[in-house]
Symmetry: C4
Subunit: 283 residues, 4 copies
């Protein structure tokens, strides 16, 4: 029986750790997650500062020590996460598990492998945790809606992106044939395809630009086309969001509940309950 | 009693001043606001002209004197505003109060601090008063609608901008790792993040552009992605505006209710109820 | 009586000319308008070719003679238009009248004023006649819809453009203060405002680009903001087009006519005529 | 009779070949089409690699032999397609027939004509076959929807593109007059029109950019205008997609009609009619 209580104790301890590390809804979890978020932000700012040579020269030691402290904190967190979870392997090979490992390990590797240190920059990926921490905020609703709108139009947008990509391959090839003798940056087909993407998406760096009259003529067509087809994905998502927000609005608008069976979501002009056939109250 | 009438007089004088300075609806307020607007525009044109070196050389004295005149006008207006209002501190620390001060003080500071003069340019912020003056015009309806549409989608757009920013940090970091050895402008992570924002928003200056094949390949992905995700905020605002304009249309179109069966949503030119056939009231 | 018939004859002749020159619906008017369109296109191509120095050198005489022929044709057309119309002054000072004059006169002016010749390029403005000729085609419906959608959202879009412009003035001024010492193209406030417009509209030439860290940081904000606010005009027009196309669809959808009073445009679920109160037929 | 069976046999053989080559729904056709797709992708990658000079130098022989193999495969496929189809001429002069020929012939031509080899790049056009192979995938629905949305708004978008093009001709001409003396790239009207298109579509290479104050002022107007009018095509497609997806949703959602009062548009989980309270049929 003592053993049992010990077991219980141990389980309770694990359970508590799990609550802190994985659940952002409990008070302790809230505090932990916010603290974690601050540490992540700090670590990213450190990595950014380190990448600027002038700053790195001046404050190399300070940056190095700070990074070691954060690396150790991340290591402790990583181990704690493995302990707290019931199926450690599932966590280790999960999306967040791999990111957590990737953001911890490069600093240790820098002992053995010179140059591996710059991989610390992968720590930026941990920023994605913010979307889990966002669960805390009232933004979660909006965030979910955005994600849902995107998911609903994912298939349509994939087809669209595929279409645009093929178009860019064809257009890039044509421009390579037209401009290849002009010393204007269209040195190979892949580069021309890169140019076609830069142009069609209206980014337009200008590092590669047509020089010949024919090249500029074809480019003009490509741009006008790009101007017209950018409307397609926008239209798709627009319609999706509109439908979604209308549906969620409908839910809110008609707040009647059947006095008989408590069913909700009645049509606006409903006179009888669609579920039990009882008469609805008049407003 | 004399005292009282004096007080009344004083109050009346203050009230009148308040009416002129703060209320754009009264005839006097209208005139004052339009005059103020012209002075603001003039002062901004002066500041702009002064910033062009060739013009400054030629007409330095004229510009300087004009600016002093406007500064004194602004000072008088600022003091009058403090006097006219019931709670001066509230005005002083309000948004417009701070802007009004900031657009007056730099010229005086230029006596003591050399170089502080260029802060006169902050006067451009006073242009925002135009939106208060716009109350005069029929544009106010449209303006309010725009602002409302923006406010309604603010939460969604904030989440979106946050998401885009995190994406840019991650993509910038990846591009820094890929392009850092290429002498192509990706000299630090912050610069790479700056590049990612320039690219994803399809601005594309071209001051920093990928040179390596892998860098251009990843960039192509980023651009196509940016092309697809620009659709999201557009879709959100689109849906919001559509709902809003539909609602306002419904409200305005026809508010008649059938006196017989209470059915609503009649056509504008309806004379009989479409539901029960009873005669509708004439307006 | 002879006089009268002469008058009639003259009137008839004028009427015929009017029909040919101004009405694109009659067979003769159709032919004339298409011929005119071809001449306009030809003249624009000639002006374009002339502006290319290499071509101008080679074929100067041919281009010059061709232009004289077209100028004489345009002159005849211009005089004929004045004769054919009942109120010549109204035509002369109308939008198209001024364009017609502007596209004829520079060639004659080139006798007296050297350099005035290049104004022949204004002939491009005559291209706008295409929208009158388009009346011929079935595109007119679409064209009208587009114009109507634009007109409906004109007020909203004007406010929006005004807002963007003021924003650009403020942002340009701030960037001028930040970047003015950096030798990066922000040499004056007007140039900085120009840069702000180039950036916010996502054009991004790159002829002026921030160099300092703070400048790039602020630019990033401007770009993300521009990314978000581009959604606003799109949303407005979107909603407008959607409403318009729905209304025109509604008209088509419910094709019921009251058997009593022949009123149309009934609601979809109407059971009684909204005009005379008579019962509608069941489908 | 032997002859007949022979004929039948021959016909059957032809029919089988047709099934494999042209029908992507049958199992054999599926396998063939996927294999063909892989060969096309391979050939395009080979052409791309060949266009990169460094790679071409190193692996010229390998690339050349691989291309010959693929050319022979394509030739066999082309001949088989001619044999399999009932009306060979119709195939030969069809869109895909011409592309198939164009992607086979340049390699043979390179024997006789030096330089004609680079036309092998036209093989990229064969990528368009992917849209036929896509029939296999579940993406077909989305793809059809996209194409339909585009077709429905084709007339509107054509008018829009025409309008933008004429606008660019006029704006380009004006900018040529303004900037022609400035040594800023506006060397001829066609180049200025090219610049206007680059600017209005917000691509903004920066290879040509206004230098004079007036030029930059006009450009600013053009950009703001471009910012506003990009909303038009988006709005059109948006509305089209919204209408389309709503209609398809309505059809799919619920087609039940109340057996009692014939009311439609019931909720998906409705068991009783919302109008008369009668029980709905179970599906």
């Amino acid at each position: 029986m003592e053993n049992d209580s010990k077991n219980n104790n141990k389980e309770g301890w694990k359970h508590k750790l799990h609550e802190i590390l994985y659940e952002a809804d409990t008070p302790k979890g809230k505090i932990f997650n916010i603290a974690l978020f601050i540490v992540i932000i700090t670590s990213i700012i450190l990595v950014m500062l380190e990448s600027i040579q002038e700053i790195d020269k001046e404050y190399h030691d300070f940056l190095n020590i700070s990074e070691w402290i954060i690396t150790i904190l991340f290591t402790i967190e990583y181990i704690a996460r493995i302990i707290a979870v019931k199926k450690p392997l599932k966590y280790i090979f999960s999306f967040y598990g791999i990111i957590d490992l990737l953001s911890t390990i490069p600093k240790y590797l820098s002992f053995f492998l010179v140059g591996s240190h710059s991989l610390v920059a992968l720590r930026a990926l941990r920023l994605m945790r913010i979307f889990r921490i966002l669960k805390l905020a009232r933004f979660i609703g909006e965030s979910t809606n955005l994600v849902r709108a995107f998911k609903l139009s994912r298939a349509k947008i994939s087809v669209f992106i595929l279409f645009v990509f093929i178009l860019c391959v064809i257009l890039g090839t044509i421009m390579y044939l037209v401009e290849s003798g002009q010393n204007s940056g269209f040195t190979s087909i892949p580069r021309s395809v890169y140019w076609a993407i830069v142009t069609l998406t209206t980014v337009g760096y200008g590092d590669i630009a047509p020089v010949s009259a024919l090249g500029q003529f074809i480019s003009s067509f490509i741009m006008l086309m790009g101007y017209a087809i950018i409307a397609v994905p926008t239209g798709i998502v627009s319609a999706e969001v509109a439908t979604m927000s209308k549906r969620s609005r409908n839910t809110h608008t008609n707040t009647q509940a059947c006095p008989n069976c408590m069913a909700i979501y009645h049509n606006d002009n409903a006179e009888y309950c669609y579920k039990c056939g009882g008469r609805l109250n008049d407003e």
